[in-house]
C-alpha cells in the first residue's frame, strides 16, 4: 500500500501551525529535501489560509483535509474543503515591479503557490466541494 498522510482540521487560523508541521513531516518522509519540504509547507500554508479566510470566512464552521502522497516522482498535496468555490482566474497576479506606493498588498499567496510548486490545479464539484492539488517534483 502506497504511503499516504492525511489530516482533517477545523477551519481556524490557529491550526495553520499544526498543518505546517504535518506537511513538513510528510514531505520529508516521502523523500523531499529540507528546502523542498519548506517550499511545500509554505505553499500549503498559503492555500489553507485562503480556504479559512475566503472559502469559509471568519467565524464560519467547516473543516478542511490535507493529504500528501507520491504520484510517480511528484509529491502531491490535496486540500479539500466545502466552502465557497474559488475562481483563481479572478485573482490578478501581483505586479512585483511597481514602486512601493502603487503596490497592491494582496494576491501574494496565490503567487507563492504557483512559484513554489510545479503545478497547481483547482477543481470545484457541486457534490464534493473544492479540491486543490499541488504537485512538487522530487529532486533526484
Amino acid at each position: 500500500m502506497p504511503e499516504r498522510y492525511e489530516i482533517t482540521v477545523p477551519s481556524d487560523l490557529a491550526n495553520l501551525a499544526c498543518i505546517a508541521e504535518f506537511v513538513t513531516h510528510a514531505a520529508l518522509r516521502l523523500g523531499l529535501s529540507e528546502q523542498q519540504a519548506f517550499e511545500v509547507q509554505m505553499a500549503t500554508d498559503e492555500a489553507c489560509a485562503n480556504v479559512m479566510e475566503h472559502a469559509y470566512g471568519p467565524g464560519v464552521a467547516g473543516s478542511l483535509s490535507i493529504a500528501c502522497e507520491l504520484e510517480g516522482d511528484d509529491l502531491v498535496v490535496t486540500i479539500r474543503d466545502r466552502g465557497r468555490p474559488f475562481d483563481a482566474k479572478r485573482v490578478p497576479p501581483p505586479d512585483l515591479t511597481r514602486p512601493l506606493a502603487d503596490r497592491r498588498v494582496g494576491g501574494l499567496g496565490l503567487h507563492f503557490m504557483h512559484k513554489l510548486m510545479d503545478r497547481v490545479v483547482f477543481h470545484h464539484d457541486a457534490e464534493t466541494g473544492n479540491e486543490l492539488r499541488m504537485y512538487k517534483r522530487r529532486s533526484p
Partner: protein, 111 residues
C-alpha cells in the same frame, strides 16, 4: 511567534521569532502600530529567530513600511534576515524595497 519591542534613543527595535502566518501576523501588526502610534517611525525589525513568514506577514510589513516612510518621517529596516526568509522576500519582489542589514547594530546605526 514571539515579538519583543525595545525603545532605543532614536530608533525602536522589534525582534520577531518563530512563525508569522495568518494567525500570528496580527500580533506583529499590533506591535508595529503601537510604536507608530507614539509618532515613532524609525523602526528596525530584527528577524534573526524567524522561521517562517507568510504573505500575511509580508502584507503587515509592507503596510507598516508605507506608513513609516510617509512624508519622509521614517523607515522600517530589516536586520539578520535568515536565508529562507530572504528567499521569500525575493519571491515577493520585496528584497529591493526594504533596506536590509547584516546586524541589528548596523541597522540601528543607519538611521
Amino acid at each position: 511567534m514571539d515579538v519583543k519591542a525595545r525603545q532605543l534613543k532614536r530608533v525602536d527595535l522589534v525582534e520577531v521569532s518563530g512563525r508569522v502566518d495568518s494567525a500570528t501576523a496580527p500580533q506583529l501588526e499590533a506591535a508595529l502600530q503601537a510604536i507608530m502610534a507614539q509618532d515613532r517611525f524609525r523602526i528596525v525589525v530584527d528577524l534573526q529567530g524567524l522561521e517562517y513568514l507568510s504573505s500575511a506577514g509580508l502584507r503587515v510589513l509592507v503596510a507598516a513600511l508605507k506608513q513609516a516612510r510617509r512624508w519622509n518621517r521614517g523607515d522600517i529596516r530589516l536586520a539578520n534576515v535568515p536565508p529562507r526568509i530572504q528567499s521569500v522576500l525575493q519571491l515577493a519582489g520585496l528584497d529591493a524595497i526594504f533596506r536590509i542589514y547584516d546586524s541589528a547594530v548596523d541597522a540601528v546605526g543607519s538611521f
